[in-house]
């Protein structure tokens, strides 16, 4: 279960990443942020975001053009 959710549907690069960063800032270590997005570029971007920030991408899926991610805050 996610501790917090972010609706980034309809937003384009780099807004989903910027909003996710902001949301994670207000969360504690180990908490999970669930994100919904429609930007197809977000798939690679959230992967890269997590690799570079040390957060963990615990889930990434797509259904009917809506991308769903779960990021666990680390560090």
């Amino acid at each position: 279960m996610a501790d917090s959710t972010l609706d980034a549907k309809g937003l384009n690069c780099p807004l989903p990443i910027l909003r996710a960063k902001k949301a994670l800032k207000g969360m504690s270590n180990g908490q999970v942020l669930a994100i919904e997005a429609t930007d197809p570029g977000s798939a690679k971007d959230f992967e890269s975001f997590c690799v570079q920030t040390g957060n963990e991408l615990v889930k990434a899926s797509e259904n009917n053009g809506v991308f769903y991610y779960e990021i666990k805050k680390k560090g």
């Binding site: 937003l11 384009n12 780099p14 910027l18 960063k21 429609t38 920030t53």
Partner: protein, 156 residues
């Protein structure tokens, strides 16, 4: 952060389209925990004016997708630039692309450091008060002080 990565950007362009790359990269890098500096010089200063009126011109830009083919001699007509600008802004809003105002705000919020080129400020007869608050005014030597310490340096 001791090992914080650093990005230094020189932003030289003052059109609506070219205001995007430095601000998208700066805000994204800040989200990736980079320490970011943008050095605004020449037409780039237009992006950090308090009263911004950034436009896009189809003139001399054959790469710009147009809804209908438009001969160059039509593109020079009065009002064409304003029309192209309005259309581009509408298109961007409909695609969920952030406005320059909001990207700039986010850059400031995420503590992107901004330097305005004092030489160009003088050249264009701008006053410091014409530009947004929080800018540092400096020259090329200051940029190199930042760039020599940066992991990535971009000229846009």
């Amino acid at each position: 952060m001791a090992n914080q990565k650093k990005l230094a950007i020189i932003a030289t362009k003052g059109t609506l389209d070219f205001a995007y790359p430095p601000l998208i990269l700066a805000t994204t890098a800040a989200a990736l925990d980079y320490e970011v500096t943008i050095f605004w010089t020449f037409y780039g200063l237009q992006v950090v004016k308090k009263e911004r009126d950034l436009k896009i011109s189809p003139l001399g830009n054959p790469g710009m997708p147009m809804p209908v083919p438009m001969p160059v001699l039509v593109q020079v007509l009065p009002g064409m630039e304003a029309m192209a600008t309005v259309m581009m802004k509408q298109k961007m809003a409909s695609k969920g692309v952030a406005s320059i105002d909001s990207l700039l705000e986010m850059a400031i919020e995420s503590e992107v450091k901004m330097i305005a080129c004092q030489m160009t400020v003088d050249l264009f007869d701008f006053k410091h008060s014409d530009l947004i608050d929080g800018l540092e005014f400096a020259g090329a030597a200051r940029f190199f002080e930042i760039a020599q310490d940066a992991d990535i340096t971009l000229f846009i």
